[in-house]
């Protein structure tokens, strides 16, 4: 267990170089901490985010620093947690509701979709709902059918919500800070398997706007769009494909609502080919949306059909052999992208 932390001992007071390498989880903690210091209306609620610091250490040190009024452990009641978040947001607070495992957001979906997403619009702009809902999606170590889902597209589907899916520590911090200054309901969806991934994060203040994609790798033969954990797999596949003579351009939208479709279309105009790699299912998912967008707005840039490289349509089986087979592996990505060029 982690040693007891004293109030005030926080992560970024150490002597570090202007850009240091920290973990995805730490980046999130820093963002929340900085914003909670800046904005006293922020209240953080969730299961296990108090003294425990969060199941993924995603709230480490916050309870010690800000106290139990502003950092509250909740009972296992995602629907009420979220409803309370909505009410508090309408009443002038800026709540963070941590659902922890994204799968359990389903308990809260009625509150998110029927209440949170509609209130600003239906009240004709009179009420704002500055609510941040935080959760970790995706599979890790055979997490199984109840702890592996990636249905962020359900929420991308609903007008009135913003959805972020960061893939690196740098993106986590920048986007989370932006989210905590946004007056709309935001779903901030991290990935369980990325919490320990390390990456460079600048020391000073910075934010990343929503709706701005990142070109992770420049290429000329095919555009591959991916989010979250899939970004690193696609980059790995791109290295292999490069050796086989296929030059891959990798785009990470970072937020899916709003989505930087211009970046995607610009890239497809250059390469002529598009594949979307998603840990979620193909049917009615993010990949389907990107394919439809490009077909609708840039059909004549396509030299080949759009390819969706997604989870196979089965529940998340437990056994490692099935688990890795069902989800897009580097090898499958290489094979499917290659097939776009021949056979």
């Amino acid at each position: 267990m982690a040693k007891p932390r004293t109030s005030g001992e926080v992560l970024s007071t150490r002597e570090e170089a202007p850009e240091r390498v920290i973990s995805y989880a730490q980046a999130g903690v820093e963002a929340v901490r900085e914003e909670m210091m800046r904005d006293t209306t922020i209240v953080y609620m969730g299961q296990g985010i108090g003294p425990r610091g969060g199941n993924f250490q995603q709230a480490r040190g916050l309870w010690e620093e800000f106290g139990e009024e502003r950092v509250r452990d909740t009972p296992i009641a995602e629907m009420a947690q979220t409803g309370l978040g909505i009410g508090a947001a309408m009443a002038g607070s800026r709540p963070i509701v941590d659902i922890v495992f994204f799968d359990f957001i389903l308990e809260a979906s009625a509150q998110i979709i029927q209440q949170a997403s509609t209130i600003h619009y239906i009240s004709n702009g009179k009420f704002k709902v500055p609510l941040l809902i935080r959760a970790a999606m995706g599979g890790v170590r055979s997490s199984g059918p109840h702890h592996s889902h990636t249905f962020y597209s359900f929420f991308m589907h609903i007008p009135g919500l913003k959805v972020a899916v960061p893939s690196t520590p740098y993106d986590v911090k920048g986007l989370l800070k932006t989210a905590l200054r946004d007056d709309n309901p935001v779903l901030f969806i991290e990935h369980k398997a990325l919490y320990n991934a390390k990456g460079p994060v600048p020391m000073g203040e910075y934010t990343i706007p929503f709706g701005e994609a990142k070109v992770c790798r420049s290429g000329k033969d095919v555009t591959v769009v991916a989010v979250s954990l899939m970004v690193s797999r696609v980059l790995e596949a791109a290295e292999i494909l490069e050796q086989q003579g296929i030059s891959v351009e990798v785009i990470d939208p970072r937020t899916v609502a709003p989505l930087d479709k211009d970046a995607i279309i610009r890239s497809v105009a250059k390469t002529g080919r598009l594949a979307v790699v998603d840990e979620a299912y193909a049917t009615c998912g993010f990949a389907a949306e990107v394919a439809a967008l490009v077909a609708e707005e840039a059909l004549e840039e396509l030299d080949a059909p759009v390819r969706r490289i997604c989870a196979l349509p089965a529940p998340h089986a437990f056994s490692p052999s099935l688990d890795t087979f069902l989800l897009p592996s580097v090898e499958r990505i290489v094979r499917e992208v290659t097939a776009m060029f021949r056979g």
């Binding site: 409803g83 009410g87 709540p95 009625a110 509150q111 209440q115 004709n124 704002k128």
Partner: protein, 321 residues
């Protein structure tokens, strides 16, 4: 119980406003001029009036699908509510919400709601915000007997009690959830008794006696404001009409039962008692009646003249910028 005379007339006024408004809504709806559907509050006026009499403008209320009464009692302008029911620009929400989605931040009104029990955690959340901000505000949550078997009810009451939130949970037990009698939906067909499970005070009140409502609601509001946490109040009452306009309400309720409850008309009861005890004169009541009529007339005229929203605005304000 000591009650100021002005308060009696005020209660009467609120109840009459609600009654006359709802009767007018029924008339307008039946004429075919009102889109959507509507759920009338006639018969339950004492609850809204008695509870909201204790609330400040900045206190919060969340309401149900049967919420015109709560809206008017909390201070929304009748003309704005009527216009909203007709989907007009002059409505509380510019016509975007209608009957089940009435919002008014100026009146602390966090919305009527089309989803049973969904408003309960929202009220608790508003109370949480008030507590953390130490603002002295409280929240009141209205819901029916149909909501108390729903997960939202249990989760919200548990958290509210555990966190000692300044919220008053008011259940309007009118014995039927749509067409389902309470005793067929729950073995424990009572509400106040459930409070014990969450270790919060539970109070049962004859919901058609506005003074009893006023008294008990006052105690609960006081408790919340003093930081003593939430209360669950069960108001025993009855709706005269069906669940929604279009439902006669007689397929699942006997004529005798309906008549019995109509005789317990809360407005008539208050008026008679007030006159008996000389809290107010007939003249004063009649004056109030006239004022209410004027308000209703104005509401109908205003709503009728207000235009429908321009489709060009349909995509505005999906997000706050």
């Amino acid at each position: 119980m000591k009650i100021a005379q002005e308060q009696v007339l005020s209660l009467y006024r609120t109840m009459t406003l609600i009654r006359e408004f709802e009767v007018k809504v029924r008339e307008v709806f039946r004429s075919g001029a009102m889109p959507g559907f509507t759920h009338l509050y006639v018969g339950e006026e004492a609850v809204a009036a008695g509870v909201c009499a204790h609330l400040r403008r900045e206190d919060y209320v969340t309401s149900t699908h049967r919420g015109h009464g709560h809206a008017l009692a909390k201070g929304l302008a009748p003309r704005e509510v009527m216009a909203e029911l007709l989907g007009k620009v002059g409505g509380s929400c510019g016509g975007r919400g209608g009957s089940m989605h009435l919002y008014d931040p100026a009146a602390g009104f966090l919305g009527t709601n089309g989803v049973v029990a969904a408003n309960i955690p929202i009220a608790a959340g508003a109370a949480l915000s008030a507590k953390v901000r130490k603002s002295g505000q409280i929240a009141v949550c209205f819901f029916g007997d149909g909501a108390v078997n729903n997960g939202a009810f249990h989760e919200s009451l548990n958290v509210a009690a555990t966190w000692n939130l300044p919220v008053v949970f008011v259940c309007e037990n009118n014995l039927y959830a749509t067409e389902m009698p309470f005793h067929l939906a729950a073995k424990n067909a009572t509400v106040a008794s459930r409070a014990a499970a969450y270790r919060m005070p539970g109070v049962e009140v004859g919901g058609n006696d506005v003074l009893a409502v006023y008294e008990k609601a006052g105690e609960a509001v006081e408790r919340a404001r003093c930081g003593e946490g939430p209360t669950l109040i069960e108001m025993l009452t009855y709706r005269w009409f069906g669940h929604h306009e279009g439902d006669p309400g007689t397929a699942y309720r006997s004529k005798e039962e309906i008549e019995k409850w109509k005789k317990r008309d809360p407005i008539k009861a208050l008026r008679e008692r007030a006159i008996d005890f000389q809290w107010a004169t007939v003249g004063e009541f009649e004056k109030t009646d006239k004022e209410v009529q004027e308000l209703i007339k104005d509401a109908v005229e205003f709503a009728g003249n207000s235009p429908l929203p321009d489709p060009g605005t349909a995509l505005h304000a999906v997000l706050s910028s």
